[in-house]
Symmetry: C2
């Protein structure tokens, strides 16, 4: 038996809180179905694609009668994509509900992501296994993976496994893409004339799977608390040592939700929001100017230090860089043979500079050599630039330093600028879930079973009213097709769940925007410290600032 | 008034624990002095240098009578060097003791490190200020700095300030260098015929200021807990995602205490210990082979992922690299003019390759180009290579990847190797102190005052029996000269406190060494999670594994 940490042992004893309505006997929880729903856009196309499952009503739960609940069932569960804190608790909640309804029911976990159902690789979950993972971080109970279920062949494979296993339902824990696939799988099973149900669970630390009905994806709370702990520590280092400007890039893919939440928690000098950059059509030079302006003003006050947050997706949200990347992708695809012949990076850069056109050429030439090289070297299997690999924080440091040198020569800046770069990502995806995520995830897993017990399919489990205590939470199900629209992917129009970006007229951004001018010049840092699982209520049971601002509880 | 985080507010209410003997009325705490002591080496030279303060006895405290305790006093305190969690509590403990003895006594804080006493820049500390910093991280209450007090002129300046301020004592919170300077300052004041006392406090997250009498430097506990939180999270990510080998470089300067403690807490696949590398005269190639061996064996078991810890100081502990750096430093100093003329990095590398001799040349040529460039570019004001800037983890990744390619071509390896590099340092130096560090630091500050109240000078405050509960802790003072020897610094023999490196026959290393073969191949990760300030005792009140193993309480 592997030794475990003191915290892990203690967390086994934590009892997650459930919304009141699902604490009932399962045979007394009845789904209430409202009016048919519509997709957010492209309704006609989606109606055709989801012939069997389009337009289902929103489901809420109330006390009533559900004689079907205690039926013996077999359910399969899948973890899809990057890990997020709380995934294990989703499985624990699902397991506990299933076993509460009927001890004979069986939960199997497909191994290593969607590949598990394609290849019928699984383990049967039991009390022993489940108890070893309660309230822990990670997706290691059954493993995760990034294989998709999206081709006709893959749908057939999944169907074959489901039939062989005699599954009643499949629960898919994943982000927007995985839940899009969950919707397609639900439709596929329905078209096959089976009753195999599919329920999705909204997972992603990035926070970009949310809408009017899904208030938050799980893991966002914990991940932003871990990042904010580290940012706060670095801020406190900055005011103690007076030596460095820290440029911190934060995971979060396209959306800036993580950066925004961390900014609200830690009040850094600058936080760039990609969505604003795009909306205002800002150039790289403007972003550099914004940072430089803060550096200069703080230097005048004797503060030659600071903290800057940079969202991972920034680079492709700067319109001029986005255009450059687009031309680069086309160029390197079209003239791959010639490009491959070039003998070294310098030759590649020269060649590309000579081939690019107009403004794209100017932008490319203005970039530091290291970033030019990254743009040419780190390409994915399709030949596209891998934007997530680009060290935007280093790019900004270099460009700010250059600009400051110029200002110094002109007598407009007289400070010291020494910068340190950081990237925070993998540090938080598998943290022990905060009490919030432990509760929310357990409730989501439990809710998934209640949806199954009410014979629903094509739903995303939903727990709402999240900025309030769990005793006020409401559980139910949101039809997956309701969140979808059609978008171009790899040149083809596809049904997808619309990704939630930071809304510039939403309360979290507006709150940030109303304070940032002061933060840029003064030192207004806040130090949240490490996630606490015990202690005073406001220390260990706070939802994110994003949620509180969105729901006007802060 | 700045808004503060919920945790900071809660931590204000934490009451640090004190060793029983210093909980008495201060007028009843009497210092007991034992036999005269000797330095660890070079006794004759040290006797001459420390004419007035050499060989003082160890001080312990017991119940007795000290009528001097309630004398009105004025004390100055200095934070020196890099921040470490708990520094604020040292000042709070010192302040509380001083005020407990006599409400009229005054504590001033010299600003921004030793520079503050040189320039007589200070603030007077009062209840309001102190209460805003209780149990918080950072050194921002008065700021820190790296100016030294080491030249005759600087000693005179410090003396001038001390006289102008009419100080009774100066407390210096710092690492080995700063406490060496504290010893010299105590001697200087004594030679001047004054009674101005100097007391040192053992600070450094690196853990390298310890010996038979000083069991731990403060901050090591908290810092290793923060790093272990992050390492554990990354380990859990590795077993969830099955995608990456994570190479994690950890702060800690020359010594590998931090890496070793983190390894004991998290059980990674590999942890390199610099002291072992030097003792066994290991080559870079041997280290690469050790890592590669683990990668290959794990790949055979289907584990194409892992976690490797690399201490910051490794690069200079590899004898062949140390020799190379030495020749480089000499070469670049001697032929600086010619070197500066070279037009680009490639030309510099070629020129250096042609100038280096023998084995040093082979080693340099074998390094990846990026590392060659770092060796030539990042030099300190003396022209020396800045080893702390060298990204050893990237060097190892590149060399391991090269080796694996070779093995793959030979059919000896059939796995996937994708690596991610991390460096953890600034993330932890200003964390909220763990309960251990909060207690230990408060007790150190309090002890410093008891030493002052007993008219002692040239002592390091000492709190012992640290692996036991605070109710078993013992407080006292260790004469600074006792820990010193003579070492060569910048070509001159200087008195210095001997730096504590990892002892290869000590219990922490031996415990690690007895388990690491299994860790290298199997997955034995442990996940400590975030520092907890509340909750079950073994979750929030554990000392480091290093301390427990050294004191045989684990």
């Amino acid at each position: 038996m592997q030794k475990i940490s003191a915290l892990q042992k203690a967390r086994y004893g934590y009892i997650p809180k459930l919304p009141p309505v699902i604490q009932e006997d399962l045979s007394k929880i009845q789904a209430q179905l409202g009016e048919p729903t519509e997709a957010v856009a492209d309704r006609e196309e989606l109606k055709k694609l989801f012939e069997k499952t389009y337009g289902k009503p929103i489901a809420t739960f109330s006390r009533g009668s559900n004689p079907d609940a205690s039926k013996k069932r077999k359910v399969g569960v899948i973890l899809s994509g990057g890990p997020a804190p709380g995934g294990h608790n989703v499985i624990c909640g699902l397991y506990d509900a299933l076993k509460k309804a009927n001890r004979e029911s069986v939960l199997i976990g497909f191994k290593n992501g969607p590949a598990g159902i394609l290849e019928n690789e699984y383990i049967e979950l039991n009390d022993k296994i489940i108890n070893d993972y309660r309230n822990t971080g990670g997706f290691d109970i059954i493993g995760s993976g990034r294989t998709k279920i999206e081709t006709p062949k893959q749908f057939e494979q999944a169907f074959k496994t489901a039939q062989e296993q005699q599954l009643d339902a499949v629960v898919i824990i994943g982000g927007d893409d995985s839940n899009t696939n969950a919707a397609l799988l639900a439709e596929f099973f329905a078209k096959k004339g089976t009753n195999i149900q599919v329920i999705g669970i909204p997972k992603t630390i990035d926070g970009d799977l949310k809408n009017q009905y899904i208030e938050a994806s799980f893991g966002f709370d914990t991940a932003t608390k871990v990042y904010s702990e580290l940012i706060g520590n670095i801020e406190r280092d900055a005011i103690s040592s007076h030596k460095y400007w820290h440029f911190i890039r934060l995971m979060g893919r396209s959306a800036s939700h993580i950066a925004l939440e961390c900014a609200l928690q830690t009040q850094p000098n600058i936080c760039i929001i990609s969505e604003e950059v795009r909306a205002k059509n800002m150039t790289l030079a403007q972003i550099v100017d914004q940072i430089t302006d803060s550096v200069v003003k703080r230097a005048e006050k004797g503060y030659n230090y600071g903290v800057i947050l940079v969202p991972e997706g920034l680079i492709e949200f700067i319109p001029e860089v986005g255009n450059l990347i687009e031309e680069l992708n086309t160029l390197l695809a079209k003239e791959a043979a010639e490009f491959e012949k070039l003998e070294d990076t310098k030759a590649q850069i020269d060649w590309v500079s000579s081939k690019l056109t107009g403004r794209n050429k100017d932008v490319f030439v203005s970039l530091p050599a290291g970033i030019q090289a990254q743009l040419l070297m780190d390409r994915d299997p399709h030949g596209n630039v891998q934007v997530s690999r680009i060290e935007t924080e280093k790019l900004l440091i270099e460009m700010v330093a250059t600009k400051l040198k110029k200002l110094k020569a002109e007598g407009k800046y007289n400070g010291k600028f020494s910068a340190i770069n950081h990237f925070f990502g993998y540090e938080a995806r598998c943290a022990f879930p905060s009490n919030f995520d432990a509760d929310y995830c357990y409730a989501l897993g439990f809710t998934a079973f209640v949806l199954i017990a009410n014979n629903l399919t094509g739903y995303l489990a939903s727990v709402r009213n999240l900025s309030r205590p769990a005793s006020d939470w409401e559980a139910g199900g949101i039809p997956l097709t309701m969140m979808m629209n059609m978008e171009k992917r790899h040149g083809e129009m596809k049904p997808v769940i619309r990704k939630a970006l930071v809304e510039l007229d939403g309360a979290p951004f507006k709150t940030f925007a109303s304070q940032r001018d002061e933060w840029a010049v003064e030192t207004c840092y806040q130090f949240p410290g490490a996630i606490q699982y015990y202690g005073p209520d406001d220390v260990c049971n706070q939802p994110t600032k994003t949620l509180k601002l969105e729901q006007e509880t802060e």
